[in-house]
Protein backbone atom coordinates (compact mmCIF):
# COMPACT_ATOMS: atom_id res chain seq x y z
CA UNK A 1 0.00 0.00 0.00
CA UNK A 2 2.70 2.45 1.02
CA UNK A 3 4.59 1.74 -2.17
CA UNK A 4 1.43 2.41 -4.19
CA UNK A 5 1.01 5.75 -2.47
CA UNK A 6 4.65 6.66 -3.04
CA UNK A 7 4.49 5.73 -6.73
CA UNK A 8 1.33 7.80 -7.16
CA UNK A 9 2.74 10.83 -5.34
CA UNK A 10 5.93 10.69 -7.40
CA UNK A 11 3.91 10.39 -10.59
CA UNK A 12 1.76 13.41 -9.67
CA UNK A 13 4.80 15.55 -8.83
CA UNK A 14 6.55 14.42 -12.02
CA UNK A 15 3.49 15.42 -14.05
CA UNK A 16 3.29 18.79 -12.33
CA UNK A 17 6.98 19.55 -12.93
CA UNK A 18 7.31 17.78 -16.30
CA UNK A 19 10.01 15.55 -14.77
CA UNK A 20 10.89 11.92 -15.25
CA UNK A 21 9.46 9.94 -12.26
CA UNK A 22 12.80 8.13 -11.95
CA UNK A 23 14.43 11.49 -11.04
CA UNK A 24 12.28 11.71 -7.91
CA UNK A 25 12.95 9.66 -4.80
CA UNK A 26 11.35 9.40 -1.39
CA UNK A 27 14.05 11.72 0.01
CA UNK A 28 13.63 14.42 -2.66
CA UNK A 29 12.57 17.74 -1.15
CA UNK A 30 9.88 19.78 -2.84
CA UNK A 31 12.23 22.75 -2.72
CA UNK A 32 14.97 20.89 -4.57
CA UNK A 33 12.45 19.78 -7.17
CA UNK A 34 11.51 23.42 -7.70
CA UNK A 35 7.89 22.90 -6.60
CA UNK A 36 6.31 26.33 -6.05
CA UNK A 37 3.53 26.81 -3.51
CA UNK A 38 0.89 26.88 -6.28
CA UNK A 39 2.29 23.63 -7.67
CA UNK A 40 2.38 22.10 -4.21
CA UNK A 41 -1.29 22.80 -3.59
CA UNK A 42 -2.07 21.46 -7.06
CA UNK A 43 -0.26 18.22 -6.19
CA UNK A 44 -2.20 18.12 -2.92
CA UNK A 45 -5.42 18.60 -4.88
CA UNK A 46 -4.49 15.71 -7.19
CA UNK A 47 -3.71 13.55 -4.15
CA UNK A 48 -7.03 14.42 -2.50
CA UNK A 49 -8.87 13.47 -5.67
CA UNK A 50 -6.92 10.25 -6.17
CA UNK A 51 -7.09 8.94 -2.60
CA UNK A 52 -10.35 10.59 -1.58
CA UNK A 53 -8.86 12.24 1.48
CA UNK A 54 -9.02 15.78 2.83
CA UNK A 55 -5.61 17.33 3.56
CA UNK A 56 -5.97 19.94 6.34
CA UNK A 57 -4.31 23.35 5.80
CA UNK A 58 -2.02 22.99 8.84
CA UNK A 59 -0.31 19.93 7.36
CA UNK A 60 0.69 21.79 4.20
CA UNK A 61 3.53 23.71 5.85
CA UNK A 62 5.07 20.49 7.15
CA UNK A 63 5.47 18.85 3.77
CA UNK A 64 9.16 19.09 2.86
CA UNK A 65 9.91 15.78 1.19
CA UNK A 66 8.10 13.18 -0.89
CA UNK A 67 8.40 10.96 2.18
CA UNK A 68 6.44 13.52 4.27
CA UNK A 69 3.62 13.56 1.74
CA UNK A 70 3.45 9.78 1.58
CA UNK A 71 3.38 9.58 5.40
CA UNK A 72 0.62 12.17 5.57
CA UNK A 73 -1.50 10.46 2.94
CA UNK A 74 -1.00 7.05 4.55
CA UNK A 75 -2.13 8.33 7.94
CA UNK A 76 -5.14 10.14 6.43
CA UNK A 77 -6.16 6.94 4.70
CA UNK A 78 -5.78 4.88 7.88
CA UNK A 79 -7.82 7.47 9.84
CA UNK A 80 -10.54 7.14 7.23
CA UNK A 81 -10.59 3.38 7.57
Amino acid sequence: MRQDIENSVIKLIAKQKSLNPSDITSESTLEALGVTSLEAITVVYDIEEKFDVEVPDDILDKLDTVHDIVDGVASLISEKE
Binding site: S18, L38, T42, Y45, E48, E49
Partner: protein
Protein backbone atom coordinates in the same frame (compact mmCIF):
# COMPACT_ATOMS: atom_id res chain seq x y z
CA UNK B 1 -0.21 70.78 -27.33
CA UNK B 2 -0.89 67.09 -26.75
CA UNK B 3 2.01 64.66 -27.11
CA UNK B 4 1.42 62.86 -30.42
CA UNK B 5 0.95 59.11 -29.93
CA UNK B 6 1.61 56.69 -32.76
CA UNK B 7 0.89 53.04 -33.51
CA UNK B 8 3.98 51.03 -34.36
CA UNK B 9 2.98 47.39 -33.90
CA UNK B 10 -0.08 45.24 -34.54
CA UNK B 11 -1.07 41.76 -33.38
CA UNK B 12 -4.22 39.67 -33.82
CA UNK B 13 -5.56 36.19 -33.41
CA UNK B 14 -9.15 35.73 -34.51
CA UNK B 15 -11.62 33.71 -36.53
CA UNK B 16 -9.73 35.03 -39.55
CA UNK B 17 -6.44 33.38 -38.58
CA UNK B 18 -3.51 33.45 -36.22
CA UNK B 19 -1.76 36.56 -37.55
CA UNK B 20 -2.38 40.11 -38.73
CA UNK B 21 -1.53 39.12 -42.32
CA UNK B 22 -4.26 36.47 -42.34
CA UNK B 23 -6.69 38.82 -40.59
CA UNK B 24 -6.16 41.59 -43.12
CA UNK B 25 -6.22 39.35 -46.17
CA UNK B 26 -9.57 37.88 -45.12
CA UNK B 27 -11.01 41.36 -44.39
CA UNK B 28 -9.93 42.65 -47.79
CA UNK B 29 -11.48 39.63 -49.50
CA UNK B 30 -14.72 39.96 -47.55
CA UNK B 31 -14.25 36.43 -46.19
CA UNK B 32 -16.20 35.64 -43.07
CA UNK B 33 -14.80 33.55 -40.23
CA UNK B 34 -18.30 32.73 -38.98
CA UNK B 35 -18.81 28.97 -39.04
CA UNK B 36 -20.61 26.14 -37.32
CA UNK B 37 -19.20 25.84 -33.81
CA UNK B 38 -16.54 23.17 -33.52
CA UNK B 39 -15.89 23.24 -29.78
CA UNK B 40 -19.38 22.71 -28.34
CA UNK B 41 -22.12 20.05 -28.58
CA UNK B 42 -24.44 21.52 -31.21
CA UNK B 43 -27.51 19.44 -30.33
CA UNK B 44 -28.00 21.32 -27.08
CA UNK B 45 -27.57 24.80 -28.57
CA UNK B 46 -30.12 26.97 -30.29
CA UNK B 47 -27.37 29.16 -31.72
CA UNK B 48 -24.95 26.84 -33.50
CA UNK B 49 -22.61 29.34 -35.14
CA UNK B 50 -19.74 31.49 -33.97
CA UNK B 51 -16.45 33.04 -35.03
CA UNK B 52 -13.98 30.64 -33.44
CA UNK B 53 -10.22 30.81 -33.94
CA UNK B 54 -9.63 28.09 -36.56
CA UNK B 55 -7.23 25.19 -36.06
CA UNK B 56 -6.06 26.52 -32.71
CA UNK B 57 -3.74 24.27 -30.73
CA UNK B 58 -2.32 25.97 -27.65
CA UNK B 59 0.75 23.72 -27.84
CA UNK B 60 1.74 25.44 -31.11
CA UNK B 61 2.35 28.58 -29.05
CA UNK B 62 3.13 27.51 -25.50
CA UNK B 63 4.97 24.88 -23.49
CA UNK B 64 2.82 22.54 -21.40
CA UNK B 65 3.93 24.37 -18.24
CA UNK B 66 2.84 27.69 -19.71
CA UNK B 67 -0.45 26.31 -21.03
CA UNK B 68 -1.46 24.92 -17.67
CA UNK B 69 -1.39 28.40 -16.12
CA UNK B 70 -3.30 30.18 -18.88
CA UNK B 71 -6.95 30.06 -19.76
CA UNK B 72 -7.80 30.41 -23.43
CA UNK B 73 -8.37 34.19 -23.19
CA UNK B 74 -4.92 34.70 -21.66
CA UNK B 75 -3.30 32.59 -24.36
CA UNK B 76 -4.90 34.72 -27.07
CA UNK B 77 -3.76 37.92 -25.34
CA UNK B 78 -0.16 36.75 -25.16
CA UNK B 79 -0.16 35.58 -28.79
CA UNK B 80 -1.46 38.93 -30.06
CA UNK B 81 0.88 40.94 -27.81
CA UNK B 82 3.90 38.92 -28.93
CA UNK B 83 3.02 39.58 -32.57
CA UNK B 84 2.51 43.30 -31.95
CA UNK B 85 5.85 43.59 -30.16
CA UNK B 86 7.72 41.65 -32.85
CA UNK B 87 6.04 43.79 -35.50
CA UNK B 88 7.14 46.97 -33.71
CA UNK B 89 10.69 45.67 -33.48
CA UNK B 90 10.88 47.00 -29.95
CA UNK B 91 13.46 45.60 -27.55
CA UNK B 92 12.90 43.93 -24.17
CA UNK B 93 14.79 46.84 -22.60
CA UNK B 94 12.39 49.37 -24.15
CA UNK B 95 9.42 47.31 -22.99
CA UNK B 96 10.54 46.99 -19.40
CA UNK B 97 8.98 50.24 -18.14
CA UNK B 98 6.10 50.19 -20.61
CA UNK B 99 2.42 50.12 -19.67
CA UNK B 100 0.24 47.17 -20.56
CA UNK B 101 -3.52 47.47 -20.50
CA UNK B 102 -5.62 44.54 -21.66
CA UNK B 103 -9.40 44.60 -21.91
CA UNK B 104 -11.67 41.63 -21.41
CA UNK B 105 -15.39 41.22 -21.20
CA UNK B 106 -15.54 37.72 -19.75
CA UNK B 107 -12.24 36.67 -18.17
CA UNK B 108 -11.33 32.98 -18.10
CA UNK B 109 -14.54 31.20 -18.93
CA UNK B 110 -13.06 27.81 -19.77
CA UNK B 111 -11.68 27.11 -16.29
CA UNK B 112 -14.82 28.60 -14.73
CA UNK B 113 -17.03 26.31 -16.78
CA UNK B 114 -14.91 23.25 -15.96
CA UNK B 115 -14.97 24.14 -12.28
CA UNK B 116 -18.76 24.50 -12.20
CA UNK B 117 -19.16 21.23 -14.11
CA UNK B 118 -17.02 19.42 -11.53
CA UNK B 119 -18.89 20.91 -8.59
CA UNK B 120 -22.48 20.93 -9.82
CA UNK B 121 -22.56 18.16 -12.41
CA UNK B 122 -20.10 15.63 -11.07
CA UNK B 123 -20.84 16.45 -7.45
CA UNK B 124 -17.18 16.85 -6.52
CA UNK B 125 -16.49 18.45 -3.19
CA UNK B 126 -13.39 20.48 -4.00
CA UNK B 127 -12.47 23.12 -6.53
CA UNK B 128 -9.24 23.02 -8.52
CA UNK B 129 -6.46 25.24 -7.12
CA UNK B 130 -5.64 26.70 -10.53
CA UNK B 131 -9.17 27.92 -11.15
CA UNK B 132 -8.71 31.34 -9.54
CA UNK B 133 -5.41 32.23 -11.27
CA UNK B 134 -6.91 31.06 -14.58
CA UNK B 135 -10.28 32.81 -14.46
CA UNK B 136 -9.41 36.15 -12.84
CA UNK B 137 -10.09 39.01 -15.24
CA UNK B 138 -6.57 40.42 -14.87
CA UNK B 139 -4.92 37.09 -15.74
CA UNK B 140 -4.47 38.04 -19.39
CA UNK B 141 -2.79 41.35 -18.57
CA UNK B 142 -0.58 39.61 -16.01
CA UNK B 143 0.41 36.85 -18.45
CA UNK B 144 1.32 39.43 -21.11
CA UNK B 145 3.46 41.28 -18.58
CA UNK B 146 5.19 38.04 -17.56
CA UNK B 147 5.81 36.84 -21.11
CA UNK B 148 7.14 40.19 -22.28
CA UNK B 149 8.92 41.31 -19.12
CA UNK B 150 6.82 44.45 -18.68
CA UNK B 151 7.20 45.93 -15.20
CA UNK B 152 5.40 49.27 -15.63
CA UNK B 153 1.70 49.98 -14.99
CA UNK B 154 -0.27 46.84 -15.92
CA UNK B 155 -3.99 46.34 -15.44
CA UNK B 156 -7.24 45.15 -16.95
CA UNK B 157 -10.22 47.10 -18.16
CA UNK B 158 -13.57 45.37 -18.19
CA UNK B 159 -16.24 47.34 -20.02
CA UNK B 160 -17.77 44.50 -22.03
CA UNK B 161 -17.64 45.20 -25.78
CA UNK B 162 -15.81 48.50 -25.25
CA UNK B 163 -13.06 46.99 -23.06
CA UNK B 164 -10.23 47.10 -25.55
CA UNK B 165 -11.12 50.53 -26.94
CA UNK B 166 -11.10 51.84 -23.37
CA UNK B 167 -7.77 50.06 -22.83
CA UNK B 168 -6.21 51.70 -25.88
CA UNK B 169 -7.60 55.08 -24.79
CA UNK B 170 -6.11 54.75 -21.32
CA UNK B 171 -2.75 53.70 -22.73
CA UNK B 172 -2.77 56.76 -24.97
CA UNK B 173 -3.58 58.98 -21.99
CA UNK B 174 -0.64 57.52 -20.06
CA UNK B 175 1.76 58.28 -22.92
CA UNK B 176 0.38 61.79 -23.30
CA UNK B 177 0.78 62.43 -19.59
CA UNK B 178 4.43 61.42 -19.75
CA UNK B 179 3.92 58.49 -17.40
CA UNK B 180 5.28 56.05 -19.99
CA UNK B 181 6.81 56.29 -23.46
CA UNK B 182 5.57 52.91 -24.67
CA UNK B 183 2.40 50.90 -24.08
CA UNK B 184 0.91 47.61 -25.19
CA UNK B 185 -2.86 47.83 -25.30
CA UNK B 186 -5.61 45.61 -26.55
CA UNK B 187 -8.18 43.11 -25.51
CA UNK B 188 -9.09 39.45 -25.46
CA UNK B 189 -12.00 37.10 -24.95
CA UNK B 190 -12.79 33.43 -25.38
CA UNK B 191 -16.48 33.05 -24.57
CA UNK B 192 -17.19 29.69 -26.22
CA UNK B 193 -18.20 27.61 -23.25
CA UNK B 194 -21.60 26.05 -22.72
CA UNK B 195 -22.22 28.05 -19.57
CA UNK B 196 -21.40 31.32 -21.34
CA UNK B 197 -23.24 30.66 -24.57
CA UNK B 198 -26.56 29.64 -23.03
CA UNK B 199 -27.18 33.00 -21.31
CA UNK B 200 -26.17 34.77 -24.52
CA UNK B 201 -28.83 32.73 -26.35
CA UNK B 202 -31.35 33.88 -23.77
CA UNK B 203 -30.70 37.53 -24.60
CA UNK B 204 -32.26 36.87 -28.03
CA UNK B 205 -29.74 39.04 -29.83
CA UNK B 206 -27.83 36.22 -31.50
CA UNK B 207 -28.19 35.34 -35.15
CA UNK B 208 -28.60 31.71 -36.10
CA UNK B 209 -27.46 32.18 -39.71
CA UNK B 210 -24.79 34.89 -40.00
CA UNK B 211 -23.94 38.47 -39.08
CA UNK B 212 -25.09 41.06 -41.63
CA UNK B 213 -24.69 44.51 -40.11
CA UNK B 214 -26.97 47.26 -41.44
CA UNK B 215 -28.89 44.91 -43.77
CA UNK B 216 -32.68 44.77 -43.85
CA UNK B 217 -32.69 41.04 -43.06
CA UNK B 218 -30.06 41.21 -40.33
CA UNK B 219 -30.75 38.67 -37.64
CA UNK B 220 -28.44 39.61 -34.80
CA UNK B 221 -24.89 39.38 -33.62
CA UNK B 222 -22.53 36.41 -33.81
CA UNK B 223 -20.16 35.82 -30.92
CA UNK B 224 -16.48 35.57 -31.70
CA UNK B 225 -13.22 34.97 -29.89
CA UNK B 226 -9.65 36.15 -30.17
CA UNK B 227 -7.41 39.02 -29.20
CA UNK B 228 -5.94 42.16 -30.65
CA UNK B 229 -3.01 44.24 -29.46
CA UNK B 230 -1.21 47.38 -30.55
CA UNK B 231 2.10 48.92 -29.59
CA UNK B 232 1.69 52.62 -28.86
CA UNK B 233 4.49 55.08 -28.30
CA UNK B 234 5.07 58.78 -28.27
CA UNK B 235 5.96 60.08 -31.72
CA UNK B 236 9.25 61.28 -30.29
CA UNK B 237 10.13 57.81 -28.94
CA UNK B 238 9.16 56.13 -32.20
CA UNK B 239 11.24 58.55 -34.25
CA UNK B 240 14.22 58.22 -31.96
CA UNK B 241 14.37 54.48 -32.43
CA UNK B 242 13.58 54.70 -36.15
CA UNK B 243 10.33 52.75 -35.83
CA UNK B 244 8.01 52.08 -38.73
CA UNK B 245 4.86 54.04 -37.92
CA UNK B 246 1.45 52.81 -39.09
CA UNK B 247 -0.64 55.83 -38.10
CA UNK B 248 -1.26 58.36 -35.37
CA UNK B 249 -3.66 57.44 -32.59
CA UNK B 250 -5.10 60.92 -32.58
CA UNK B 251 -7.89 60.78 -30.04
CA UNK B 252 -10.21 58.89 -27.77
CA UNK B 253 -13.74 59.80 -26.79
CA UNK B 254 -15.69 58.16 -24.00
CA UNK B 255 -19.21 58.45 -22.68
CA UNK B 256 -21.84 56.57 -20.75
CA UNK B 257 -25.48 56.44 -21.83
CA UNK B 258 -26.67 56.49 -18.22
CA UNK B 259 -29.81 55.02 -19.71
CA UNK B 260 -30.54 51.33 -19.99
CA UNK B 261 -28.38 48.31 -19.16
CA UNK B 262 -28.83 46.78 -22.64
CA UNK B 263 -30.62 49.24 -24.95
CA UNK B 264 -28.17 51.46 -26.86
CA UNK B 265 -28.58 55.22 -27.02
CA UNK B 266 -27.69 57.20 -30.13
CA UNK B 267 -27.05 60.24 -27.95
CA UNK B 268 -24.48 58.39 -25.84
CA UNK B 269 -22.76 57.03 -28.94
CA UNK B 270 -22.76 60.45 -30.61
CA UNK B 271 -21.28 62.04 -27.50
CA UNK B 272 -18.35 59.58 -27.58
CA UNK B 273 -17.73 60.03 -31.31
CA UNK B 274 -17.81 63.83 -30.94
CA UNK B 275 -15.46 63.61 -27.96
CA UNK B 276 -12.99 61.51 -29.97
CA UNK B 277 -12.97 64.05 -32.81
CA UNK B 278 -12.52 66.93 -30.36
CA UNK B 279 -9.70 65.09 -28.59
CA UNK B 280 -8.02 64.50 -31.95
CA UNK B 281 -8.63 68.11 -33.10
CA UNK B 282 -10.41 66.67 -36.13
CA UNK B 283 -13.39 68.16 -37.92
CA UNK B 284 -16.16 65.87 -39.16
CA UNK B 285 -14.89 66.49 -42.70
CA UNK B 286 -11.47 65.05 -41.79
CA UNK B 287 -12.98 61.58 -41.35
CA UNK B 288 -13.19 59.32 -44.40
CA UNK B 289 -13.78 55.95 -42.78
CA UNK B 290 -15.73 54.63 -39.79
CA UNK B 291 -15.16 51.11 -38.51
CA UNK B 292 -18.61 50.72 -37.02
CA UNK B 293 -19.55 48.92 -33.85
CA UNK B 294 -21.99 47.27 -36.30
CA UNK B 295 -23.08 44.23 -34.34
CA UNK B 296 -25.90 43.29 -36.71
CA UNK B 297 -28.58 43.60 -34.03
CA UNK B 298 -31.81 45.44 -34.82
CA UNK B 299 -31.12 48.03 -32.12
CA UNK B 300 -27.43 48.82 -32.60
CA UNK B 301 -27.33 49.38 -36.32
CA UNK B 302 -30.12 51.97 -36.41
CA UNK B 303 -28.90 53.71 -33.27
CA UNK B 304 -25.30 53.85 -34.55
CA UNK B 305 -26.42 55.21 -37.91
CA UNK B 306 -28.40 57.94 -36.11
CA UNK B 307 -25.35 58.79 -34.01
CA UNK B 308 -23.19 59.16 -37.14
CA UNK B 309 -25.80 61.50 -38.65
CA UNK B 310 -25.85 63.53 -35.44
CA UNK B 311 -22.08 64.01 -35.38
CA UNK B 312 -21.21 64.23 -39.06
CA UNK B 313 -24.29 66.05 -40.42
CA UNK B 314 -24.10 66.42 -44.21
CA UNK B 315 -20.67 64.77 -44.27
CA UNK B 316 -22.23 61.49 -43.06
CA UNK B 317 -23.29 60.71 -46.63
CA UNK B 318 -19.63 60.83 -47.73
CA UNK B 319 -18.38 58.50 -44.97
CA UNK B 320 -17.42 54.92 -45.73
CA UNK B 321 -18.80 52.84 -42.84
CA UNK B 322 -18.04 49.15 -42.50
CA UNK B 323 -19.05 46.52 -39.99
CA UNK B 324 -16.19 44.06 -39.90
CA UNK B 325 -17.96 41.96 -37.23
CA UNK B 326 -19.58 40.41 -40.30
CA UNK B 327 -16.21 38.65 -40.71
CA UNK B 328 -14.47 38.37 -37.31
CA UNK B 329 -17.71 38.10 -35.36
CA UNK B 330 -18.13 39.88 -32.05
CA UNK B 331 -15.29 38.85 -29.76
CA UNK B 332 -16.52 41.15 -26.96
CA UNK B 333 -13.47 42.50 -25.12
CA UNK B 334 -11.27 41.90 -28.16
CA UNK B 335 -13.57 43.63 -30.63
CA UNK B 336 -12.28 47.19 -30.24
CA UNK B 337 -8.67 46.11 -30.62
CA UNK B 338 -9.31 43.97 -33.72
CA UNK B 339 -11.30 46.81 -35.24
CA UNK B 340 -8.57 49.32 -34.44
CA UNK B 341 -6.11 47.07 -36.28
CA UNK B 342 -8.51 46.97 -39.25
CA UNK B 343 -8.85 50.76 -39.12
CA UNK B 344 -5.09 51.31 -38.96
CA UNK B 345 -4.47 48.96 -41.88
CA UNK B 346 -7.19 50.65 -43.91
CA UNK B 347 -5.33 53.93 -43.46
CA UNK B 348 -1.92 52.42 -44.09
CA UNK B 349 -2.90 50.47 -47.20
CA UNK B 350 -5.61 52.66 -48.69
CA UNK B 351 -8.06 49.75 -48.72
CA UNK B 352 -11.39 49.94 -46.92
CA UNK B 353 -12.61 46.56 -45.67
CA UNK B 354 -16.24 45.87 -46.55
CA UNK B 355 -19.34 44.96 -44.60
CA UNK B 356 -19.65 41.30 -45.59
CA UNK B 357 -22.92 39.37 -45.95
CA UNK B 358 -24.67 42.61 -46.92
CA UNK B 359 -27.98 42.19 -48.74
CA UNK B 360 -29.90 45.47 -48.87
CA UNK B 361 -29.91 48.42 -46.51
CA UNK B 362 -32.15 48.09 -43.48
CA UNK B 363 -34.73 50.65 -42.44
CA UNK B 364 -32.97 53.57 -40.80
CA UNK B 365 -29.63 52.42 -42.22
CA UNK B 366 -28.93 54.93 -44.98
CA UNK B 367 -25.14 55.31 -45.11
CA UNK B 368 -22.45 53.90 -47.41
CA UNK B 369 -21.69 50.61 -45.69
CA UNK B 370 -19.09 49.49 -48.28
CA UNK B 371 -21.16 46.40 -49.10
CA UNK B 372 -19.32 43.12 -49.70
CA UNK B 373 -16.41 44.50 -51.74
CA UNK B 374 -13.32 46.14 -50.29
CA UNK B 375 -12.67 49.56 -51.78
CA UNK B 376 -9.40 51.20 -52.72
CA UNK B 377 -9.50 54.68 -51.29
CA UNK B 378 -6.97 56.90 -49.64
CA UNK B 379 -7.96 57.61 -46.04
CA UNK B 380 -6.65 60.54 -44.03
CA UNK B 381 -8.74 60.09 -40.92
CA UNK B 382 -10.89 57.36 -39.41
CA UNK B 383 -12.76 56.45 -36.28
CA UNK B 384 -13.43 53.07 -34.68
CA UNK B 385 -16.58 52.75 -32.59
CA UNK B 386 -17.13 50.49 -29.58
CA UNK B 387 -20.42 50.60 -27.68
CA UNK B 388 -20.87 48.22 -24.80
CA UNK B 389 -23.76 46.66 -22.95
CA UNK B 390 -24.22 48.81 -19.91
CA UNK B 391 -24.11 51.91 -22.11
CA UNK B 392 -20.34 52.38 -21.97
CA UNK B 393 -18.91 53.89 -25.13
CA UNK B 394 -15.34 54.34 -26.37
CA UNK B 395 -14.35 55.70 -29.75
CA UNK B 396 -10.81 55.90 -31.15
CA UNK B 397 -9.75 58.43 -33.79
CA UNK B 398 -6.85 57.59 -36.08
CA UNK B 399 -5.00 59.83 -38.51
CA UNK B 400 -2.70 59.02 -41.41
CA UNK B 401 0.93 59.83 -40.66
CA UNK B 402 1.54 61.99 -43.71
CA UNK B 403 -1.17 64.34 -42.43
CA UNK B 404 0.32 64.62 -38.91
Amino acid sequence: MKTPVVITGLGTISALGHSVDQFWEALCNGESGIRELASLPLESLRVKIGAEVPAYEACDFFSSDEMRLMDRFSQFAVISAREAVADAGITAEELRDAACIIGTGCGGRVADDESFQRLYLQGKSRGHPLTVPLVMANAAASQVSMHLGITGPVFVIASACASSAHAVGQAMAMIRSGLVDVAIAGGTDAPFTYGTLKPWEALRVMSSDTCRPFSRDRSGMVLGEGAGAVVLESLEHAKKRGACIYAELAGCGMSADAGHITDPSSDGAAKAIKAALDDASMNPGDVDYVNAHGTGTKANDVSETQALHQVFGEHAARLMVSGTKSMHGHPLGAAGALELVATVLAIKSGIVPPTANFTEAGEGCDLDYVPNQAREKSIKGAVSNSFAFGGLNAVLAVRAMDSV
